[in-house]
């Protein structure tokens, strides 16, 4: 059974139809990249997977649980096995980098302070932020904030991670290194992930599978190299780059 499975998901906000019969599945340990234009509902998809939004119609299953049907408590348990990197970091501005990253361990998990320290140091090293522990988020650049957000999503060692535009707002070098980090984690920890992005280079590095998404449905999917080489006019238009 797939770790993540969406079947015929529909979602509208008022008269605006965002998802119109979206289906996809992600196997355990696999990394799916979803690409789509801005405002096409990429964040909306991730919010369905973590139970922040409920579909009007259709099924959303994560790790064998039907997400829309979970009670508050069950959802909270499921979320403890999931990580979510927000598009705009969403760090708490009055807490230091260390406290921000330690938060998911301190709240609702029984973790000794020494273990917390160790795990936080480990993920901060992973995102190359050693030495920034005591800084406040406002003292960091956008790219560094993004990496703190990534560290916070990783610190609980979740089985499923959702990345919302992990490379957005980063310079090309940092963007490449974030993509490489995500890929490495994928291979080392065997996490299952869904990444939404604008960037083809991020898609190539991170994805085992790439799906291009428009008007509430997937228009093409497959291994990244194949999809990026697709001749479909809409895909070419969206990717905006000639085949290289």
């Amino acid at each position: 059974m797939a770790t993540i499975e969406l079947r015929d998901v529909h979602k509208s906000f008022g008269a605006q139809k965002v998802l119109e019969g979206l289906s996809f599945s992600v196997e355990q340990g696999q990394s799916l990249v979803l690409m789509g234009p801005s405002g096409s509902g990429k964040s909306v998809i991730l919010k369905h997977l973590i139970g922040l939004l409920k579909p009007d119609h259709g099924e959303v299953e994560v790790m064998g649980k039907s997400v829309p049907e979970l009670s508050g408590h069950e959802l909270s348990l499921l979320r403890k096995d999931m990580g979510y990197l927000f598009q705009h970091s969403a760090l708490l501005n009055w807490m230091s980098v260390f406290d921000n990253v330690a938060l998911p361990l301190r709240e609702g998990r029984d973790c000794a302070e020494s273990e917390i320290r160790e795990r936080v140091q480990k993920v901060l090293a992973l995102v190359m932020l050693e030495g920034a522990e005591l800084k406040l988020p406002e003292q960091l650049s956008g790219g560094m904030q993004k990496r703190v957000g990534l560290a916070r999503a990783l610190v609980t060692e979740p089985k499923v991670i959702l990345y919302d535009e992990p490379e957005a707002g980063l310079d090309p070098e940092m963007s490449a290194s974030i993509s490489a980090t995500i890929r490495r984690l994928q291979e080392e920890l065997g996490t299952t992930s869904v990444t939404v992005t604008h960037s083809t280079s991020c898609a190539k590095t991170v994805g085992d599978l790439l799906a291009v998404f428009e008007k509430g449905r997937i228009i093409v999917s497959g291994p990244p190299a194949e999809v990026l080489a697709s001749e479909l006019p809409r895909v070419r238009e969206f990717l905006g780059t000639p085949i290289d």
Partner: protein, 267 residues
């Protein structure tokens, strides 16, 4: 639906739903009283923010209120040759009504607004959503320290406000009305010797002040947090949340003041 029903639905439905939400936040805070020990660091931070940082304004305003009361009541009492009773009048008015209400209004303006703006900004920047996703109990993490921090500080500020108001009245009484300061103070403290029931060690007026200000502090903080957590649509939404927090807090203070006063003084 006719036009009246539609207008009613447009105006009342949001009001009722936000009132309902505020009540649920208040209940959630009360249900999490046992978390206070774990939240003591944020609790002390909030007590510092809501109490210590507003202290100078509270003292300043209450000092002037005391002077105003002494001046207006004093001139009237003087006409009947009763200016000796000025201490009594000022202290009863200060302790029972003016200090609790004025302090609460100041806290609504300074603290409820700040809570709504802070939590509102967190809401529209998806920080609250991020907390939910990390399975953090938002009511325990954010609401409990704010609500109980203010609830503990409001009575303290009110008592200090009363004292300084009575002193302010005393200055007017001696300089403008020719009343001896010592006599004023004696008169003012005599006014506070009414016992509610024999086994309570402090005067009834002081109890009134403490009960009112505790309720006000709780209410103001709950309204501030609830408005912030309901914020929507970017910076504009934060502005709306802040405004409605202050407005609703002040309305509730005035209405609760009436009912609490009635409750306390008819028993």
């Amino acid at each position: 639906m006719n036009i009246v029903e539609r207008a009613g639905a447009r105006l009342l439905a949001p009001m009722l739903s936000s009132a309902g939400y505020a009540v649920s936040i208040g209940l959630a805070a009360v249900a999490r009283i046992p978390h206070l020990l774990r939240r003591r660091r944020s609790l002390f931070d909030q007590m510092h923010l809501s109490g210590v940082k507003t202290l100078h304004v509270v003292l300043f305003v209450n000092f002037f209120i005391g002077m105003i009361l002494a001046l207006q009541l004093g001139y009237e009492l003087q006409r009947f040759g009763q200016q000796q009773a000025i201490g009594f009048a000022v202290s009863v008015a200060m302790v029972r009504e003016m200090a609790p209400v004025m302090t609460a209004v100041l806290l609504a303006a300074a603290v409820s607004s700040a809570m709504a703006a802070e939590l509102g900004t967190m809401k529209v920047q998806e920080e609250i959503t991020a907390l939910e996703v990390m399975s953090v109990d938002v009511a325990s993490f954010l609401v409990v320290p704010r609500v109980f921090g203010l609830m503990f500080m409001a009575p303290l500020l009110t008592v200090l406000g009363s004292i300084i108001g009575i002193l302010g009245g005393g200055i007017i009484a001696t300089t403008q009305l020719g009343v001896d300061f010592h006599g004023y103070l004696l008169n003012a403290t005599e006014a506070l010797e009414d016992r509610w029931v024999w086994w309570l060690p402090v005067p009834k007026s002081l109890y009134a002040a403490l009960i009112k200000s505790t309720v006000f502090g709780f209410t103001i903080a709950v309204v501030g947090c609830a408005s912030g957590l309901q914020a929507r649509h970017g910076a504009r939404g934060v502005g709306d949340a802040t405004r409605s927090a202050v407005r609703n807090s002040i309305i509730l203070i005035i209405v609760l003041n009436f009912f609490l006063g009635k409750l306390i003084y008819t028993t």
